[in-house]
């Protein structure tokens, strides 16, 4: 546990060691704000709701999060630092959780920086606080799942671009399998199964402000499952 925190600290600092973190943050915040206010014609409609925001961010996350996670293992492989890291007296799961924790913290920070949006909107009318809390909780859980997937794909390659594309595709597929347009083209019996599996359909129920423990457990299991795969893939290239 101690080691997890040490590694998380090092990884988190390394985000800010380069300009990349700041660029990510700025691009993400500018994009969400511009898309939110411009495309959604927020001021024209004048509704005090965040529905559009919570519809938009999961899509932006599909690009944003794989970009955050792509280098975390691939770079270690490419630079050979994996060898120094994995011959330190740390367990694989400690390194995996450390890296996840650092990127998760970065994600939460990014999401927190969008909080001025609901505050502005709240000043314009009555806002459904429950839906906002649910939406933000959903974003954090969904983002965490994307991150776990991204870290896993990053651990299997030394090429960051491959890691990016891999996690983008997996996240996209897992998000889309629960979307209505996709579901209508499928046989009926498979629909509940697909909905159960989809990162998207669990999100849409949380986002309505219905915080169901099953949805939370679902996301936590997805995160746990991919972190487990990550430990396996790191161990398969070394001793225990």
């Amino acid at each position: 546990m101690q080691n997890t925190l040490i590694i998380a600290g090092k990884e988190f600092r390394s985000y800010f060691g380069s300009a990349i973190a700041y660029i990510f943050l700025v691009v993400f915040l500018v994009l969400t704000s511009v898309l939110f206010f411009e495309l959604q014609k927020f001021f024209v409609v004048g509704q005090a709701t965040m529905r559009d925001f919570f519809g938009l961010v999961p899509v932006l996350f599909l690009f944003f999060i794989p970009a955050v996670s792509m280098r975390m293992w691939a770079e270690e492989r490419k630079m050979g630092t994996l060898e120094t890291l994995m011959t330190l007296p740390v367990r694989s799961w400690e390194v995996v959780t450390g890296k996840f924790l650092a990127s998760f913290l970065f994600l939460v920070m990014t999401i927190a920086l969008t909080l001025p949006l609901p505050i502005i909107i709240a000043s314009l009318g009555n806002l459904d606080t429950g839906a906002i809390i649910g939406g933000y909780l959903g974003l954090i859980l969904l983002g965490g799942s994307y991150l776990a997937i991204g870290l896993w794909t990053s651990s299997m390659t030394e090429n960051q671009i491959v890691a990016f594309i891999g996690s983008f595709v997996i996240c996209l597929v897992l998000f889309l399998v629960g979307v209505d347009i996709v579901l209508t083209s499928l046989p009926r019996w498979i629909i509940p199964f697909m909905k159960g599996l989809s990162l998207g359909s669990h999100f849409s129920s949380i986002e309505r402000g219905v915080i169901d423990s099953r949805d939370i457990i679902y996301y936590l299991s997805v995160i746990g499952f991919f972190l487990f795969l990550n430990v396996r893939s790191v161990e398969s290239s070394r001793g225990k």
Partner: protein, 313 residues
């Protein structure tokens, strides 16, 4: 301290290590010598628990690398080939990180850190980002990282590559100094390095051990190969028959015959044939202008062992 038993490692069809066994006693500095692709790095990676073996076992300080890997890794300081480091970290920041992971806390970490900077000659680089360091300084930082927790076992994969001649001497001295109290395995293809720093040498080729012993022992094994060079004034017709009659000469070859001089390379069954050869020249009233025995260098042993059939030591 380190026990390697029947260690085998394959990469697909390549057999990187083929049933290698050796021991390293506490306080010993073992040099692993071999040409490119011999399996040196692979052996070190198995010992440091980076990659698992396909067969055989390795024990470090009485811990098995497969079942007690974290314990083994605690005992070891490791400098991998080419000293891989995080380019976007600062020198101090990096050592702090390693120190924390190595469970050094509070004033002990600070004092070890200062000591490493001092010992590895990094004091002028403390404010730098690792990415801006020269190859030699990265190597030093890699060494500092390996030494920071004062490990009983040190594994160094080609510690002096990329260093300038002055740095090479400094690092060798450092290794020698550290080696007085620690168990060290280092790999290299630079022969003088093992002669100056190692108490024992292991020559490996194509995944097998082809020779082992101290540098002198290895040279002794090859004593039969040593040549003595002599040059006499005179002609081959008068000198050669007398040389052929001499009992201690087992091998005679004319190298040069010019300007009234003849030069021979002589193989002898005597370890120091100079005196006999000198007396022979005096008896026959030949003028001797050269008498020089060329000891077999580790280089020659190395070349012979790694280009011919493996010889059991």
């Amino acid at each position: 301290m380190i026990e390697v038993r029947n260690l085998t490692k394959r990469f697909g069809a390549t057999v990187a290590l083929d049933s290698v066994s050796f021991d390293v006693a506490g306080g010993e500095v073992l040099g692993l010598l071999g040409p490119n692709g011999a399996g040196k790095s692979t052996a070190l990676r198995v010992i440091t628990c980076y990659i698992p073996a396909d067969g055989g076992s390795v024990r470090v300080a009485d811990h098995d690398t497969m079942t007690q890997s974290v314990e083994v890794r605690r005992q070891i300081g490791y400098l991998p080939e080419n000293a891989p480091l995080y380019m976007d970290m600062g020198v101090i920041e990096y050592l702090e990180f390693i120190g924390k992971i190595r469970n050094l806390n509070g004033p002990r970490r600070a004092s070890r850190l200062d000591e490493m900077i001092e010992v590895c000659g990094l004091s002028r680089m403390t404010h730098r980002m690792i990415g801006t360091l020269s190859k030699g300084y990265r190597q030093r930082l890699g060494l500092a990282q390996a030494l920071i927790h004062d490990p009983p076992v040190l594994i160094l994969d080609e510690p002096t590559t990329g260093l300038d001649p002055n740095q090479i001497i400094e690092i060798r001295e450092l290794i020698k100094r550290i080696g007085e109290e620690k168990t060290i395995i280092l790999s290299t293809h630079i022969l003088p390095e093992v002669e100056t720093t190692c108490s024992r040498v292991l020559i490996i080729n194509e995944g097998r051990i082809v020779a082992s012993g101290t540098a002198e022992e290895l040279a002794g094994q090859a004593a039969g190969d040593q040549k003595t060079f002599v040059t006499f004034k005179g002609s081959a017709e008068t000198i050669e028959p007398a040389l052929r009659e001499c009992e201690i000469i087992t091998d005679l070859s004319l190298i040069e015959s010019a300007q009234g001089k003849v030069r021979y390379a002589i193989g002898s069954n005597k370890e120091e044939p100079e005196e006999t050869l000198f007396n022979l020249a005096v008896q026959n009233k030949w003028t001797l202008t050269e008498l020089r025995r060329e000891a077999v260098s580790l280089e020659q042993i190395f070349t012979r062992l790694t280009t011919q059939e493996p010889i059991e030591s």
